[in-house]
């Protein structure tokens, strides 16, 4: 799965996600990616989310919606909300996954419970990227 979330200079937040699903899925299987609130969501008043990982788990947990709910109703930062809801999803259902988040203030959240998640962002002319926990690389845009 791949995904992107952006906020432009006008404050518009957009989220998008695209995938081939999982190996060995039954023909006709639909995952979390095209489901709003699971694989993708955007609301300028709260933020934007794109998720990745085990679709059957993410669908049952409504991961994107729960992350935005944690920001909107509990006042968590984008990072804290992503961390908490990815962890709770895996504790509750068992599958793993991750999410990227930009909240309405333009703050970033990146978290995953899978072994690895590839991610990257651009801000102020610098590319930040990584794939392992607690590891960040940087280079000029």
């Amino acid at each position: 799965t791949v995904g992107a979330v952006a906020m432009d200079a006008s404050g518009l937040i957009v989220a998008g996600t695209s995938t081939g699903g999982i190996t060995g899925k039954w023909p006709g299987r639909i995952g979390d990616t095209p489901l709003l609130g699971c694989g993708t969501y955007a609301d300028n008043a709260v933020g934007g989310v794109s998720t990745t990982g085990h679709g059957e788990t993410i669908m049952r947990y409504n991961l994107a919606q729960r992350i935005l709910g944690a920001i909107q109703h509990q006042g968590l930062s984008a990072q804290a909300a992503a961390e908490r809801e990815c962890q709770k999803m895996t504790e509750r259902i068992g599958g793993t996954g991750g999410a990227i988040v930009i909240d309405h203030k333009g703050e970033v959240g990146i978290s995953w419970t899978s072994r690895r998640m590839a991610w990257g962002y651009v801000r102020d002319g610098i590319i930040h990227y990584g794939i392992n926990q607690n590891e960040v690389f940087q280079e000029p845009l």
Binding site: L12, I13, V14, A15, T17, S18, T19, I22, D43, H54
Partner: protein, 181 residues
């Protein structure tokens, strides 16, 4: 300040695929960032253009499970899905069970722009794709050697009765030379 944040999949990503993921992430960010740069003219769609451009870049890259390089179903075929949502009017487009088109994210955007329905699947999504400019690729054009290998391994695990509940969302590099050497 504009910001662009992307991901390229989560799961048991092998060491052999890390560098490909990194390059693909950097390439996608560079391809998309120009849509967010100040141009002097107010654009109402720069975040939309940036998200679409970033995802399209990764759909072209077999290091990612989307577009070219997608995982295979039990029939050995690629079935893709995508969604796009903007947060001002909360418009959205979602498509599923697409085959033989390179950029499902663009099909999702076309559906969103129609402002009639939010979610189309199967034949209807396919017809929307072709009627809004997506090229129909030859059957199997999106299937990679890595995806075939992953499906073979999945089938072997199933045949042995092993648990495949959390089937793989990430592929290994092909362990045999595709040319047969």
């Amino acid at each position: 300040r504009p910001i662009l944040l992307i991901h390229g999949g989560a799961g048991d990503i092998t060491d052999a695929r890390v560098e490909g993921k990194f390059k693909g992430i950097r390439d996608a960010l560079r391809a998309a960032w120009k849509h967010l740069e100040p141009t002097g003219a107010e654009s109402s769609s720069s975040a939309l253009d940036a998200v679409e451009a970033a995802v399209r870049s990764m759909e072209l890259n077999e290091s990612f499970n989307a577009g070219y390089g997608s995982c295979l179903n039990t029939a050995g075929a690629v079935e893709m899905e995508a969604s796009l949502m903007e947060g001002r009017e909360m418009r959205a487009g979602c498509v599923t069970l697409l085959t033989d088109v390179m950029h499902p994210i663009t099909v999702a955007r076309r559906l969103m722009e129609k402002r009639r329905h939010v979610f189309l699947g199967g034949q209807a999504a396919q017809e929307l794709a072709l009627s809004t400019g997506s090229e129909k690729l030859p059957a199997g054009a999106l299937v990679t050697d890595s995806a075939r290998q992953a499906l073979r391994e999945f089938m072997e695990q199933e045949a042995k009765g092993l648990d495949t509940t959390f089937a793989r969302t990430e592929l290994d590099d092909a362990r045999t030379d595709p040319k047969g050497d």
